[in-house]
Symmetry: C2
Subunit: 359 residues, 2 copies
Amino acid sequence: MDGGVGAKKPGVTSSQVAEHAGVSQSAVSRTFTPGASISSKTRAKVLASAKELGYRPNAIARSLITNRSRIIAVVMAYLENLFYPDVLEELGRRLAAEDYHLLLFTGFMDRDSDPVFDQLMQYRVDGIILASTSLSSDLSEECATAGIPVVLFNRTTQRDAVSSVTTRNRDGGRKIAEFLVAGGHKSFGYIAGLENSSTNRDRFLGFAEGLQAHGFTDIALGKGNYSRPDAEAAARDMLSGPDRPEAIFVANDHMAVAVMDVARHEFGIAVPEQLSIVGYDDVGPARWTSYGITTMSQPLKKMVEATVDILMDQITSGDIEAEHRILSGELVVRTSARLPRTGIVDIDGRKLYRPKDTA
Amino acid sequence: MDGGVGAKKPGVTSSQVAEHAGVSQSAVSRTFTPGASISSKTRAKVLASAKELGYRPNAIARSLITNRSRIIAVVMAYLENLFYPDVLEELGRRLAAEDYHLLLFTGFMDRDSDPVFDQLMQYRVDGIILASTSLSSDLSEECATAGIPVVLFNRTTQRDAVSSVTTRNRDGGRKIAEFLVAGGHKSFGYIAGLENSSTNRDRFLGFAEGLQAHGFTDIALGKGNYSRPDAEAAARDMLSGPDRPEAIFVANDHMAVAVMDVARHEFGIAVPEQLSIVGYDDVGPARWTSYGITTMSQPLKKMVEATVDILMDQITSGDIEAEHRILSGELVVRTSARLPRTGIVDIDGRKLYRPKDTA
DNA sequence: ATTCCGTTTGCATACGTATTCAAATCCGGC
DNA sequence: GCCGGATTTGAATACGTATGCAAACGGAAT
């Protein structure tokens, strides 16, 4: 139709290298296939010719025949929350180490990320990582029957078909409750993430349980939806009421920072003297001295490691059985919340909350 | 179970669909090729069969024959600087709109990103975006002869072979100098990014020029290398000297935030009363009320748009001629620097520095 | 020299799709 | 009912690589 446009140069093929080196195309292929049967002599010849011609194996053609793309699809949202760029970077590192590559899909918030699913499948990716996103049940079913491993990162689902990597969010929420109660607080608030996310549900559940164990049943609620503007609005609402809570647990640091800004600069509230704020994730800004957020850490590197482990296992074994890895974090104590009298320990530079009794 | 290892299920092929629909494989192909010659009747038949069998065109096989992967490689570093995740998200959006996909390579700092180059080329990507990274001259040459467009994002290079998208960093630096001089400051400091990056050079050049125009030739220097720890160290150094500057221009917001933390919380310096800080980028944290960094904005969306435009143009035209797009930013005035008496205008909610005379 | 076994090599084929070309079909106008 | 042009169809081939298989090779033991 359109005359003579878009001419990407052909590129050197293995046959051309073969001819130049005076060997068969098979020999060239074997030269670049680790563990293939080839003499060091012809191998040297091939490598010389390849270098001279500027040959590079065509991964596309290779994929077609091996039925392996060596590509992992990553679907990720909330990139403005620094936790996820950090995850992305670590994922890139670890996948590269396994000689896998990362096809990124962004911008699909917490709802099912079905729109990108077709794209994924068309590229015959070897695995899928869903960070802060999920998949409708029939699609995860489809992955299972297609033999493509799926790992949910920082989310879980009831469905059995897909694996997941999370931390003990419920324990984390409970620990935060213990910490705040031990700190002498008497009234509490919770600013939620997206309400239908498992992470948010579990954190709140644990928090409520922990408070209830000490007789506190009343929790002021706000909806932050993991978004900074929403969290600010929720904070304004919660702080302007007649009896504002003494302590607020915010579902993640990204929002906790926003809440702190609102409290200090819009309401002139001193943190932690007049208000305690606790977050979750232990993300970069939480450590900045302007904030110093007390927060439940998530072991990012271990989580990524587990994710890649699961994928590699399932890819090489061909056995797609849902596996759930649940890791633990620490309550990192900084300056955004009033301290309990006891239970704070100092471990290689970090202050952690480790009370004696495990309730 | 199947005895072998790693059995990804075969997947439905166009031939299977063809057989099921009672047509030829060509017909199936044409059904999924927009603008191909096919009757609506057979098209309907094919679509029905495709749906029933769960057929999805194999992008890998398609690439092999069209010589187009519809994949763009993005090499990106400094993901801990929120500017880049924002870029990434916008890139993802825009590429998806053009039905292209994003193969991400991370972790290659400002030096040439040659290590990943082989990987890129093996996947026969249709284009390459280098954000805060460069390529050695022979490799960019290789791209040119291979007909693969390359765009540098937020960097430039002398070499003609590759395109680039930047902002007027030199003008930006100069404007910041004007702003600070107009604000009555008498002594100045500069905390640099990576020294061999064009962005850093240009910003400093403009800053020095602007100061010199008003007779200031002495600038305290620190090396931040675009890294938070380095910027903190440089700030400590600069602020602990006997005559610390009244105003510091930090090469980007990511570092400016760190410098501000050090000044306020380690040295107890009031900002902006005792020290003015100006950054660059207008990234998320610069807007947070704890910081309120006065900063030169970079028009992120327009930059990304220009980047994708260049790529699409060059891909469809096949004409790889280096193109350099240079956009302009604004000096966004917040609370981290003392204000000049005049020149501040209010434009839909943002305060900008727009002096009358363009020096 | 001959035999035998292990290693290396080349031939042929397969992967799943797009596209060229010629054959087949359609449709309105006579 | 037939013709001509436009549209639609299918057979064949190509894309660049990996791999099963049989043939060729190499060297050591006889």
